[in-house]
Symmetry: C2
Subunit: 348 residues, 2 copies
């Protein structure tokens, strides 16, 4: 089967935006606060809202999408912690409804009620809820809740440890994913997302986090930001910082997705990064929505690029499309096994 580990709910119903508008307006004018967090959406409307994703799954030949709230919508830098808590629960609950209604198409990943400058320990109850109560298999962790100003400590700081302890206990990986940018110098999908991937990798390279958490797993999306393109630089920086090789130091714990929107990029990714560290993803429906005039296919139809890699063995293909996802997301693997989809022994 083909598992797409990077999908966002970017086709959410308009009432969700209306709720968020009222919530943020309510910060300045309490009379505008939403009366209730019941959006009054029917199951039919929920199913209809993800018709575009399902159509693309079918057309492009993927089976299951690991699905999380719209990344730019998380908005950790917007409003108070209390507002963020409500918004996070509502956003996660919407994902849960989609995954309950369409369990063959979607498996849930959640967002956390992060706030810049406030301890991530406050996110642990929601992390427990989404895994234990909603059955989510992972979570998005924002390394820069300030939205483009990088005011929180690096991911290697003990500041983040309460979340890591819970991630390891629950056996769920975190995708390192920022939200929108409120910095006019930094475009969200064109700079902030990619920069965050690069920055997070370098933070982890500088530190020794995985000595403290050998079972912690991070997925760095968007093909690892700039990292694979500059793999020589990072191998060299590891040497200069007296760290072990990248393979020893980081690659038991860090994984990249394939959200790179042209064939040369996917070729480079699969050329330099070990196959065990690459998971199929397309950011469906994501940052880039058009058809590439050079190929006549959608930019984000990343499966097509992988399919064009020559000399890619069947074993490698299995790892990239399914096996690695089962390994990195053990709760997904358990879920699939329960449904009778066991996978190959190498990947489970």
């Amino acid at each position: 089967m083909i598992i797409d580990i990077h999908g966002h709910y970017t086709t959410e119903p308009a009432v969700m935006h209306q709720f968020r508008d009222k919530q943020i307006a309510g910060l300045a004018d309490a009379s505008r606060r939403p009366a209730s967090s019941d959006l009054g959406i029917s199951d039919e409307e929920m199913i209809k809202s993800v018709a575009p994703q399902i159509k693309f799954q079918q057309e492009r030949g993927s089976d299951l999408t690991i699905f999380s709230p719209r990344a730019a919508g998380m908005g950790h830098h917007v409003g108070t912690e209390a507002v963020g808590q409500v918004w996070t629960r509502l956003s996660n609950d919407m994902i849960h409804r989609i995954c309950t209604l369409l369990p063959d198409n979607f498996v849930g990943v959640g967002q956390l009620p992060q706030v810049p400058g406030i301890s991530p320990a406050n996110c642990v109850p929601e992390l427990e809820r989404i895994v234990n109560e909603l059955g989510f298999v992972g979570v998005n962790l924002n390394p820069d809740p300030s939205g483009g100003y990088w005011t929180d400590p690096p991911l290697t700081d003990r500041y983040w440890y309460p979340v890591y302890e819970k991630l390891v206990e629950l056996q769920v990986p975190a995708m390192i994913h920022v939200t929108g940018s409120c910095n006019p110098a930094v475009h969200h999908t064109g700079a902030h997302y990619i920069n965050a991937d690069t920055t997070a990798f370098m933070q982890l390279l500088q530190g020794n986090l995985f000595k403290d958490f050998p079972d912690l797993k991070f997925v760095i999306p968007h093909g690892g930001g700039a990292v694979p393109y500059h793999w020589g630089r990072y191998r060299g920086l590891a040497m200069m910082l007296k760290k072990p090789t990248l393979a020893e130091h980081l690659l038991k714990n860090i994984f990249f997705d394939t959200c790179v929107y042209h064939l040369p990029g996917i070729k480079l990714l699969t050329d330099v990064v070990p196959i065990d560290n690459i998971l199929f993803g397309s950011e469906l429906l994501g940052a880039v929505k058009d058809i590439d005039p050079e190929t006549g296919h959608y930019f984000d139809d990343t499966k097509r690029y992988v399919d064009q890699i020559k000399d890619f063995s069947d074993a490698n293909r299995y790892k990239l499309f399914e096996g690695n996802a089962r390994r990195v997301y053990p709760r997904l693997n358990a879920l699939l096994k329960k449904r009778g989809r066991t996978g190959r022994s190498s990947g489970s």
Copy 2:
């Protein structure tokens, strides 16, 4: 000839660091201020200080390095504007001495006395001085003088226009290059440099700066940050933002260097970016100083990677190693011609 457009004076004499220490200590304790900005360095010491660069030029087969002050040393976020003015003049004067002593090996590029939140117009006098008096052929422009917090407006903002007007008038390009990072979340050579390249490109993609300045030229170093690896993303974002193609919108004005420290990265760069937009650079002596154990050669010996590109025509090789540099740095071309080195007609 082989022109390396990206070299920094990272082997500066210790007295330069001592001067800077006194200068910064002087901010808190006036009694520690340096008594004079005459460092008392002899010509012999100056020449000796760049022996490592000259050795590498000879061993690797490059002829001329476009040489600017240590990037991380610019320190635009450190101290007052007055301190920055003195430091900038001193740093540029040191480059001028090297270039005067060793004109066959080095041609100068300067730094500007930028300060976060203070108009770049204040940099114009130093820009005029380094070009008109010191004979420099370009300048480094820092898109984030805050040192990792991105508090200044994007490069497309009119805030920057006084510098652009002068650059066009003087016919010198700017290399978009940040200095060190004072943000503990953002490593300088491993994240901030690469992020700045990506961020600057995206700022320029979002705007229409080159409509106002059709003759302005920017070199984005480190192989363009993450941009070539995500070329499909940027082509797609240009479509979503209703911009012309990247070629029409940006590539008459933006150029990338080859500071990418492994063969797959250089392959990708030369595969996706038009040859007219790639200039040879090695960041000599730069971010990564070691020998790559996988190849037995220095990571930053980027000429070796270019030499390994198959099906690279002699015309392309000329453009990348010499012709494009002559075109992007017209004052360099004029200087070389005056010395009887005319280049081929295609590149001059």
